[in-house]
């Protein structure tokens, strides 16, 4: 009866790859595995997907912390805070905090949803155009208002919006700055923009870790758990914010983690505890992305509404097996299939990520120059591989190299407002166009 749970294993393995490599997200990794996925039964496929979607969140934070590479857009805060912690020698705390936070966040949202399961049928009411438009505007404003220099943050947001606007908009076929170039009609590739403007500036910052002090910590488990418990408030705040922000269509975990991050960062600054490499901000963001990953799944399983491309692919693949997800949803389906698979996946991912944190310090034995060269090569590879999925490797690389000077110029500025607005731009436009129609 529980045979389908074996498919957690390939789901976790694929999630490790998708979480590790920027640009190979959940959707791209599923597309690569279509032949395998077509051989699975519906419940096996759903279990595989749950394991994949949850694991990417864990592994994404490890890659972001160690290499400064965001495996997923939800790992942007971990690039900022986690990688700084890693450079200053406390990377193991960053990884354990993110892993424990993700696990606790998942348990809490499952408990929360289980408690309110009779109301799940009305979940579509969240997807009100006005609510969506207001949420996206508030998040964008918060990003700017909580920044150290609001004027710079607003300017960067405008640049992010304009970069996001490049291409042809699906809703009304409006094209901006495409210059009759067919590649530009699809917009600027997300992976190229993030790698050039967000990751590259982190990479060229001067740092030099002391290779001599690298050693394994004693009483690892207890000390790390104590540190998390001491800062559990950040995790709880992240859970609540991440759960509700996760309902944003198309960009759920990105909004969850970034919103939780900016709010926690603002709070830590207000109580005069914030310094880059902040544990609480990292834990809040990482807890939020797992909570968001779960809330993003709910509309799909409850009433068959896919919110992100990977969910749409899952939904349609299930249709090719004769199953329409969301029809005849029952609480027993929720508990027997979704909850069990989710908890088991999170437990396994925690057991992988936590001990890994103990040994991650050995990577600091690599000289910084070699480390930087390796990370830059990884950046190039990610940009290239992502382009290959869309028959546009050269275009992806060209955008990356053209934006590198911008990344260099912005190396001393927090470019998160630019990246965040770039990510949400198309959702914001769609919401505003529909809102305009509703208000006349």
């Amino acid at each position: 009866m529980l045979d389908h749970l074996w498919y957690i294993v390939p789901g976790i393995l694929t999630g490790c790859i998708a979480g590790f490599m920027p640009g190979i997200g959940i959707f791209a990794s599923m597309m690569m595995l279509v032949p395998f996925l077509h051989t699975l039964e519906p419940m096996e496929l759903l279990t595989f997907y749950i394991a994949l979607a949850s694991t990417t969140q864990y592994i994404g934070s490890i890659t972001a912390t160690v290499f400064g590479l965001p495996g997923e857009t939800s790992s942007l805060p971990a690039v900022k805070e986690g990688h700084e912690m890693y450079r200053s020698g406390s990377g193991s705390y960053a990884i354990s905090g993110a892993a424990i936070g993700s696990f606790v966040g998942s348990i809490l949202v499952v408990a929360f949803v289980s408690f309110f399961i009779q109301f799940l049928d009305d979940i579509y009411k969240i997807y009100n155009t006005k609510v969506m438009a207001i949420t996206l505007i508030i998040v964008s404003v918060l990003i700017c208002m909580t920044a150290e220099n609001r004027l710079i943050a607003v300017s960067l947001s405008i640049v992010g919006y304009l970069l996001g606007l490049v291409g042809c908009r699906h809703i009304d076929d409006f094209c901006f700055a495409t210059f009759n170039n067919d590649n530009l009609t699809t917009g600027l590739p997300l992976v190229s923009v993030i790698c050039a403007i967000y990751v590259f500036p982190q990479l060229i910052k001067k740092f030099n870790w002391d290779n001599e002090v690298v050693k394994l910590e004693n009483s690892f488990t207890v000390r790390h758990l104590k540190k998390y418990v001491k800062n559990i408030g950040a995790g709880l705040r992240g859970t609540v914010i991440g759960f509700f922000a996760g309902f944003t269509p198309g960009i759920s975990t990105a909004v969850s983690s970034n919103l939780a991050y900016i709010i926690e960062k603002w709070w830590q600054t207000k109580i005069k505890k914030y310094k880059i490499g902040n544990y609480q901000s990292l834990v809040s963001a990482e807890t939020a992305n797992n909570a968001g990953a779960f809330s993003c799944l709910l509309p799909l399983v409850v009433f068959g509404l896919p919110l992100v491309p990977s969910e749409a692919l899952l939904f349609e693949m299930l249709m090719s097996k004769g199953t329409v997800l969301g029809q005849n949803f029952t609480p027993s389906f929720f508990f027997n299939n979704l909850v069990f698979a989710l908890l088991l996946t999170n437990l396994i991912a925690l057991l992988i990520a936590w001990p890994l944190a103990k040994h991650i310090c050995y990577l600091q034995k690599i000289p910084t120059t070699y480390f930087k060269i390796f990370v830059f090569a990884l950046l190039l590879f990610s940009v290239f591989i992502n382009g290959q999925n869309y028959f546009q490797e050269t275009y992806n690389l060209a955008v990356f190299f053209l934006l590198l000077p911008v990344g260099y110029m912005l190396r001393n500025i927090d470019t998160l407002p630019l990246i965040f607005v770039f990510i949400i731009q198309s959702r914001l436009d769609v919401a505003l166009i529909t809102l305009k129609g509703l208000l006349w």
């Binding site: 155009t129 699906h170 009304d172 249709m319 969301g326 006349w440």
Partner: protein, 292 residues
């Protein structure tokens, strides 16, 4: 010995080339999150028994047009799906790159589907849809023009609300943001039939107890279907058409199961090539407003 080795290598080479399948690029010309991607991934899997298949995401008709050109320029063949409404847009003078017209050299197959007017389960009654001032949802430029013409014929003015795709239209209906909405096929409705109420279908014969719009409106587009096309460039479309026919007649193929579950598409594969092209263009022409 030397001779034996050369003969053995030659035989291995011959057997490899004899078993090598033709390369076929399979292209999804629209977004990654929709039914077009689903149809093409199912086809890609089923076609692997005949071809060495490579799947490409086009992400919109502009880019997809360029991909098709690149593949053909390389001397390869590409099988792709093309939205009939995009062709209508092209024939209406919009999107110059999106006009992939079917002909006897590229046509493989098409599927016909019919639009639907829906409201939420407690929404307006059938007889009230032509009242003035209603908020009506839609999700493509062609549907907007269609609804404007329908409203004009019935002497009313509606507040038209544009959504991104059929799923967001359905959400707008469920949240009662609009009184009713037009969707391009009944599949989204059937997936949410417990929460929605179908008002009229554009299928002249009606569909699953849903009455045809033609019984209450003399609008010329009241029975307008739309065709989504499956075309091949750079290769033998008749050969591919034969394989597609085999796939569709096999009830266990991925593609057949998907269509059977969706339950709203009519295949034209049984028509001969000329009739298939003509039937598809006839449906598309319903959405062309600047007919010359």
């Amino acid at each position: 010995m030397k001779k034996t080795i050369i003969i053995a290598i030659g035989l291995i080479f011959l057997s490899l080339t004899a078993n090598a399948k033709e390369k076929l690029y399979v292209l999804n010309s629209e977004s990654t999150g929709g039914s077009f991607n689903a149809q093409m991934t199912a086809y890609a899997e089923d076609l692997k028994q005949y071809y060495d298949v490579e799947y490409i995401q086009g992400r919109g008709c502009n880019k997809a047009s360029a991909v098709i050109k690149n593949v053909v320029d390389k001397g390869e063949q590409v099988f792709y799906i093309w939205d009939g409404l995009r062709i209508a847009d092209y024939l209406n003078g919009l999107n110059p790159l999106c006009g992939k017209l079917p002909n006897k050299n590229n046509f493989v197959n098409s599927v016909l589907k019919y639009g639907l007017f829906v409201t939420d389960s407690n929404g307006i009654k059938k007889e009230d849809i032509f009242k003035p001032g209603l908020k009506v949802g839609y999700n493509s430029n062609t549907n907007k023009t269609y609804l404007e013409a329908l409203a004009k014929l019935h002497g009313v003015e509606w507040q038209l609300v544009q959504y991104e795709h059929s799923k967001s239209v359905i959400l707008g209906v469920l949240n009662q943001e609009v009184e009713w909405a037009m969707i391009n096929s009944a599949s989204s409705y059937f997936q949410q039939s417990a929460r929605l109420k179908a008002l009229y279908t554009l299928n002249p014969k009606g569909e699953s107890n849903i009455p045809p719009l033609a019984i209450v409106s003399k609008f010329s587009g009241a029975d307008a279907g739309v065709a989504d096309l499956f075309l091949l460039e750079g290769g033998d479309n008749l050969k591919l058409r034969k394989h597609v026919s085999e796939i569709l007649s096999n009830p266990k193929s991925k593609t057949s199961i998907w269509y059977n579950t969706a339950n709203v598409y009519t295949q034209t594969i049984d028509l001969n090539l000329t009739n298939g092209v003509e039937r598809s263009m006839k449906e598309i022409s319903h959405w062309v407003y600047n007919k010359k």
